[in-house]
Symmetry: C2
Subunit: 300 residues, 2 copies
Amino acid sequence: MSGHPHDNYPTRLERPADPIARIEPTVWGEGNDGPLSEHDLKTMAANGYLTRPQTLGQNWLRPMGDELARIGGLIDDEDPRIVRERQGGIRSVFEPHLFSDVIAEVIGLDTVLPVARQLLGSDVYLHQARVNLMPGFTGTGFYWHSDFETWHAEDGMPTMRAVSCSIALSENYPYNGSLMVMPGSHRTFFPCVGATPTRNHTSSLVRQEVGVPDQATLTAAANRHGVDQITGPPGGGLWFDCNIMHGSGSNITPFPRSNIFLVFNSVENKLCQPFAAAEPRPEYLAARTTEPFSVQSATA
Amino acid sequence: MSGHPHDNYPTRLERPADPIARIEPTVWGEGNDGPLSEHDLKTMAANGYLTRPQTLGQNWLRPMGDELARIGGLIDDEDPRIVRERQGGIRSVFEPHLFSDVIAEVIGLDTVLPVARQLLGSDVYLHQARVNLMPGFTGTGFYWHSDFETWHAEDGMPTMRAVSCSIALSENYPYNGSLMVMPGSHRTFFPCVGATPTRNHTSSLVRQEVGVPDQATLTAAANRHGVDQITGPPGGGLWFDCNIMHGSGSNITPFPRSNIFLVFNSVENKLCQPFAAAEPRPEYLAARTTEPFSVQSATA
């Protein structure tokens, strides 16, 4: 389907296949390339994730809350960049930096953009950006998956040289659906069974049905790596590798969860044809430019 | 419907009604009536729950695991005492002490039965007993509710003089669907809207649809009381009042949760006609005897 002469990370297969050891490094930059210390970089390389308190300072939280409310109110329900929960509430808004100078400014902060450059050892662009507005009571969570598995299969991302940054805009408790990761799982690629349905993204953003490992694979991975849950106050940043196994449970509490979610890709990791899908996903899910991100270009 | 001349805790109403302050005490016994200290009793009275590590000693855990496997294998699928998840796995087995001398023995332990007697200040009987076998991956959790609300409405329990004891048989992590409680919420009765469907128990044990407070009520209660999550190693006991607001999220991890769940009622709190249902639930969900529990009678 893909027309690629060779695929290092085959997935969406007809039958189960063995896990594949990751080829690329996790950290591409050095300790003097940006804000992260050598210790930070070692932690990221070993665990596949790194927490950075106060990625967004306290003074940002109220304006950000106002901005989320404004964005949630502005946008046309027919806009595909708005993903709703099955019950109707808004779950995500994609490309929020195109609606909001405030969010574009956040992406350009010293605690954000230079960290992405340092981790990936190059200029970076936004592969995907969204704000997630997870309401209390009805948040259904998200099953275990590797983002790279989807980006490789459906977007044509060739190598593991992308990183996500999630900035909490509300308190992450242990019991309101906070993200779980399997630390160290980013060094293994788990091929998944099942062909990609046409226009899979129209349902997979609410509930992923393909591109998830089977239960035996997840059990072995959890027993090997354990599970870490990411909790903490608003403003905290979580950086996690594109291939780390992660997921979240439901949220029956009244306490909502909101975050800004940014995926940075190296400009040297340009997307090609999807490796396991008929057509690439839309640009708002997977940008096909490699123009390095700058606040000016976002808000122009 | 109930024929009761007066109902202190009306529920399953046609329209919303104000919360009602609890009439009865939470703790009925004294510090010299049993294993609990004055401090324990004060904690229980204030919070509505109490944790007791090693309610089941380490030496019990392997035999209990074997016993659960045996019970799960023995029982006829047509037996109504077996409740399955929507996906098919076994969720609960009721009256396990009638299938298992080992479980009957656990109920009679010094860390269990005398605690129940002390909390309720009288002889006690088993209103309900079950083992819960919550598998990894597919545990769907349970929405917020007060048990007393159901026992009053559907079983005819007249007063708040019952207590539950949950004994963990597997590790309760923050992220595998562990029980959440709103500490202090047991002192308020929240009337619920919606009449009880006929034979409601045939579906409510998998997913409760009536007898749950509305979101505004739960939000106010959570903001007032907060949420505590009960975690810890196997063998730990959790005692919680019949009227505390509690629930649990989903479990997408591979780590299962199992427990023995015992509801003790005071022999002075005999069930009468249901307060808001046409017929009482079956005996295996709500025993109508008040014969005090003893290991001998359970295994006779």
